[in-house]
């Protein structure tokens, strides 16, 4: 089931390859720290002038879609998807 969230979150990221690749490690949501096991998909989008990077990640249980807005250096949890 897909649930839209759209909340700002704090995230831990490792930058690799001179900023070419961002690896999401964890994020804080609802007072919990969610450790990311795997990034399943990454893509880029444009919103007007702004570049948005989108990440689908999993903590081993559920899927989370996060977005990173380059302009304000902000992370958002866009949606949570639970199996079934």
């Amino acid at each position: 089931m897909l649930t839209r969230v759209g909340e700002r979150v704090v995230a831990g990221v490792v930058f690799r390859k001179e900023g070419q690749k961002m690896e999401l490690k964890w994020f804080l949501w609802k007072g919990r720290k969610l450790e990311i096991k795997k990034t399943t998909y990454v893509w880029r989008e444009r919103d007007g002038r702004e570049l948005i990077r989108r990440f689908v990640v999993t903590d081993g249980k559920d899927l989370y879609e996060l977005s990173y807005r380059q302009e304000g250096l902000m992370w958002f949890l866009e949606a949570v998807e639970t199996d079934g």
Binding site: T40, Y41, E45, T58
Partner: protein, 405 residues
């Protein structure tokens, strides 16, 4: 040096991307649909195809066929960005890459073979990179020309790699059904069958004069293609599109003529933008309407001149609309342009392009930089923002924003 062309086609592209993003969908029958209630299937996974799920089916039809089918909403940006990145991968092997649809590419490897041991090595490397980066598979065909490369690629689906050497082309073609030749559809297939032709070998051995009498110039093309010779090689590689069109299905049927006109303006601008991108102009236009009971009809008109832009297209299709007595609200509208020719900038009397032309160029530039529909005619605000899944024929514009800076 002999020419070597590689054809790369993603397997069940949109569905594979969704399965890669959502591991729980892997191995399951998946159909990608638009976000509306009335959307149709735009792509399906191999697990779904096996049960007869096809592109264009409505959700209802598909569920009846396969109750366990999982629907996922398509995300255009995801597929476009992946296409751009696959293009970037290919460009590392050769500068001559042609994007022929959102998930198909031709890469001319002729000049790259000094750097790589063999075309098959390039194919294996490309397949591995695409697999590692996106978690999807693709099928590759390698041959002396685009025609045979594409046929070989299709033959290996899914996850295949089929290479045809120059000397093997004729033998490779012989046993294939004529329908494996791109461009031979069900209709042409049936016409050939009436002549007793079902295999490429039979088509090859058939007298060209008879084919020509039956199909015109296509008769000659068919005879060439059956031998694995690409008759379009000598032509402009891009070729002229036969027609360029857009259509949309609405969440709610539209009965109000003003709303229909607003949609037509939107569609006309979309078509005009595509015409500008392809650098062509058209003089034939058509309007397609579909009623809630699915009866569909199309009205066409050919103008005595090539229409310069969206406004003219809009005026032409609204004139077509006015000539129709609507018997009900409509669920789908489509606008397309045909009878196209290359656009040659026609310097007006005072030099340069005319005002309207310049305006639309500027609008195109803004939309290229800031994303589709950043700037659009105010009348189209009447249309609630809709989300439709991109057509597989879509090609990202060359100056796609990511490649700008």
């Amino acid at each position: 040096m002999d020419r070597v062309v590689m054809y790369i086609d993603m397997d069940a592209y949109f569905a594979s991307v969704e399965q890669a993003s959502r591991p729980y969908l892997r191995g399951k029958p998946v159909a990608v649909v638009g976000s509306g209630k009335r959307t149709v299937i735009v792509a399906s996974s191999y697990e779904a195809k096996r049960f007869g799920i096809k592109t264009g089916m409505t959700k209802g039809e598909a569920i009846r066929k396969l109750p366990s089918l999982v629907f996922v909403e398509g995300r255009n940006n995801k597929y476009v960005d992946t296409c751009v990145r696959i293009h970037e991968i290919l460009l590392r092997y050769t500068p001559e890459v042609e994007i022929c649809s959102i998930d198909e590419f031709f890469a001319d490897l002729t000049g790259s073979l000094l750097l790589f041991p063999s075309p098959a090595d390039v194919a294996v490397a490309v397949k591995r990179e695409i697999g590692e980066q996106f978690g999807i598979t693709c099928s590759v065909g390698i041959a002396p020309n685009k025609l045979v490369a594409k046929i070989a690629g299709e033959l290996g689906k899914p996850d295949g790699l089929v290479a045809v050497e120059k000397d093997d082309v004729e033998r490779f073609m012989e046993g294939l059904p004529v329908e494996s030749i791109p461009g031979i559809g069900r209709k042409m297939g049936a016409a050939l069958k009436a002549l007793g032709i079902t295999l490429c070998r039979e088509l090859r051995d058939f007298p060209v004069s008879v084919l020509r009498r039956r199909f015109g110039i296509w008769g000659d093309y068919l005879s060439f293609m059956a031998r694995g010779i690409d008759p379009f090689r000598a032509q402009d590689p891009g070729g002229l599109p036969k027609s360029i069109g857009h259509s949309m299905t609405f969440e709610k049927n539209i009965g109000d003529r003003m709303m229909i006109r607003a949609r037509l303006l939107e569609l006309s601008e979309m078509v005009a933008r595509r015409l500008r991108k392809e650098k062509v102009v058209a003089k034939g236009f058509s309007l397609t309407l579909r009623y809630p009971d699915f009866t569909t009809f199309t009205k066409r008109i050919t103008l005595p001149f090539y229409a310069p832009g969206g406004r003219m297209i809009y005026e032409t299709v609204t004139a077509l609309l006015d000539s129709v007595r609507l018997k009900d609200a409509v669920r789908l509208l489509g606008v397309s342009a045909f009878n196209v020719r290359r656009f040659a900038a026609n310097p007006s009397l005072f030099g340069g392009l005319d005002r309207e032309e310049r305006l639309w160029r500027a609008v195109d530039d803004v939309n290229d930089a800031f994303g589709e529909c950043s700037l659009h005619p105010a009348t189209t605000l009447l249309c609630a923002r809709r989300h439709w899944v991109i057509s597989p024929a879509y090609r990202p514009h060359k100056s796609y924003p990511y490649r700008r800076q």
